[in-house]
């Protein structure tokens, strides 16, 4: 209908399947994020480290390339092992924290600031779908930064080393995929919960770092004063690091976790506590979201 016919008319066209309507939210969010020059540059820059790692893997397996630089024995300096992949995951996960601190706070707070939630939820669209849609924004962005490049590097190494290497080191791929997903889940829920409760975006972003670093520092203080390791339960980087160690190496770890996500040998807590604490953190975030994501505020 032409716009000059300014009259109301009912809609008679088709409808999209209900199950995929939550994907409308990330589509709009990506359009908005794409407009931010800083974010685009940061996002592109976050792929530099995986690129360097890919180069290292390539050079490791290419003696002639090493010869060009006159460093035939350089392949002994860096080994493509569990530390290498944990380092990749650690670096990328730290960048993911920065990205989540930048993107996360702007997800829910603009909807809450002017009561737009009542309009979202007045449609055949549930609170769970709303949260899922918002979470998808972060999950997609953070996945592309963490497990996707991690698995590509694993695939490259496997391609150059041979299938046997892949079969022998399947745990690396498993650790990268599951470990990154755990981190993404924690980060996304934390970012959304803070976005829902803290309307001022810079404050919500700062709080993300606060939860990560300040709580960790507080835990370290408890450890130091009480001469215990239980303060690590407040340290998200420790919790994630200990879970990653288990995912990468099983029950006999040989490393101190990943860069930025250290769980030093000899300072371990029972692994179950790490899982329970992370699950508890996710539960608290979901509770906070459930309290805030409502169409109307009810004054009791």
């Amino acid at each position: 209908m032409a716009v000059y016919k300014k009259t109301y008319r009912p809609y008679g066209g088709g409808l999209t399947p209900a199950w995929r309507r939550f994907l409308v939210i990330p589509r709009y969010a990506f359009e908005d994020l794409h407009r931010s020059r800083f974010l685009t540059i940061f996002y592109i820059a976050s792929f530099l480290f995986p690129l360097v790692c890919a180069l290292i893997i390539y050079v490791q397996h290419n003696a002639s390339a090493l010869g060009l630089f006159g460093a035939q024995n350089a392949n002994r300096l860096i080994s493509i092992n569990v530390v290498f992949f944990l380092t990749v995951l650690g670096w990328q996960s730290m960048l993911a924290l920065f990205l989540a601190s930048f993107v996360g706070p702007g997800q829910i707070s603009p909807d809450l600031a002017n009561n737009a939630l009542s309009l979202y939820l007045a449609r055949p669209f549930s609170r769970a779908e709303y949260v899922l849609g918002k979470m998808t924004v972060l999950v997609v962005l953070l996945s592309c930064m963490t497990w996707v490049p991690g698995l590509l590097l694993f695939g490259l190494e496997g391609y150059l080393e041979g299938w046997q290497w892949m079969a022998d080191h399947w745990r690396f791929a498993y650790g990268i995929f599951v470990g990154a997903w755990i981190w993404i889940l924690v980060l996304s829920l934390l970012a959304l919960a803070l976005s829902a409760w803290v309307k001022w975006k810079p404050a919500a972003g700062a709080l993300m770092f606060g939860v990560f670093f300040v709580a960790g520092g507080f835990g370290a203080t408890i450890d130091g004063v009480q001469r215990t390791n239980w303060g690590n339960l407040l340290n998200i980087s420790y919790l994630i690091g200990s879970v990653w160690k288990h995912l990468f190496e099983g029950s006999n770890p040989t490393t101190n976790g990943a860069v930025f996500f250290r769980a030093p040998l000899g300072e371990e807590l029972p692994l179950g506590w790490s899982w329970v604490t992370l699950a508890g953190l996710c539960g608290v975030c979901l509770y906070l979201l459930a309290r805030k994501i409502r169409a109307t505020e009810v004054v009791r």
Binding site: T16, D111, A116, L119, Y120, V299
Partner: protein
Amino acid sequence: MSYREVMSPIVELDGLEVRFGSRSVLKQLRASLTGRAIGLLGPNGAGKSTLLNTLLGFHQPFSGTARVFGRDVRTHAAEVRSLIGFMPENDAFIAGMSGVRFVRLMAELAGLPPADALERAHEAFFYVGLGEVRYRALGTYSLGMKQMAKLAQAIAHGPKLLFLDEPTNGLDPPARTRMIQLIQEIRDRGDLHLILSSHLLRDVEECCDQVLILKDGNVAAFCNLEEERRMNRRFLEIETRGGMNGNFLEAMEKLGCETAAGAQGRIKVILPEDVQVRRLYEIAAREDVQIRRLNHKRDSLEDIFLKAMDSKTEGSANGRL
């Protein structure tokens, strides 16, 4: 549109009770709303918005049921919401988003494919008179423009039932007139039903054919304005001069009229169905009485509302006047 479609209930309330904590906000509401345009009237805090929010599934009924187009709002919430367009009372928008993009987003969430949603968003903006500002961020809109943008998002997906919660709030007289015109136009096209919640009697009177009046969470009155208007056509108020009013009254009563004489020649008359007004003039001429003024006295919505506010309502009353 068939008679059955017109008369089948749009909203049915059957002992609906909604509580916030221990406080009962809606108390055992019973009503069957069938009108094309239904007004929800009541003083502030009467439960109008709570009723709309309950029909949208925002609040769970404590007891009783509410059905929209025959679907229970508790068990078929998503289905019910797919039929509804909602214009909330308070500001509701995303400040940084342009108007047309916001309406498009809302239409897509209602299930429209992106291309259709975009087309409808543009149309809706032109329809409400904001075509020229549709690319401006919603945060920069005036209050009146925000109200119109809320109406645009409520109608863009082509709902079957439109909830308008205080649509003229904060509008200046020209903007209010425009809003009322739009509502009347939407109503008269006959494609959808609408429920208009307001504490402004004039808005409801101008737009609605049925009124549910709430008071303290109870149904204080439920009336069909069209029927009331028809009935009230038989009520007359006459001002007379000269002659013997007593004879004139007697003659009218012989015709079957009910009369009540007031001061200074004023008489209230209820005409029987089969008596035409001209018969009164004939009698007046015969009795040498001048009829100086004759008004069809009708209960205005204000009268109905005031009666409802004065009456003691029972929790389970149908509240018919």
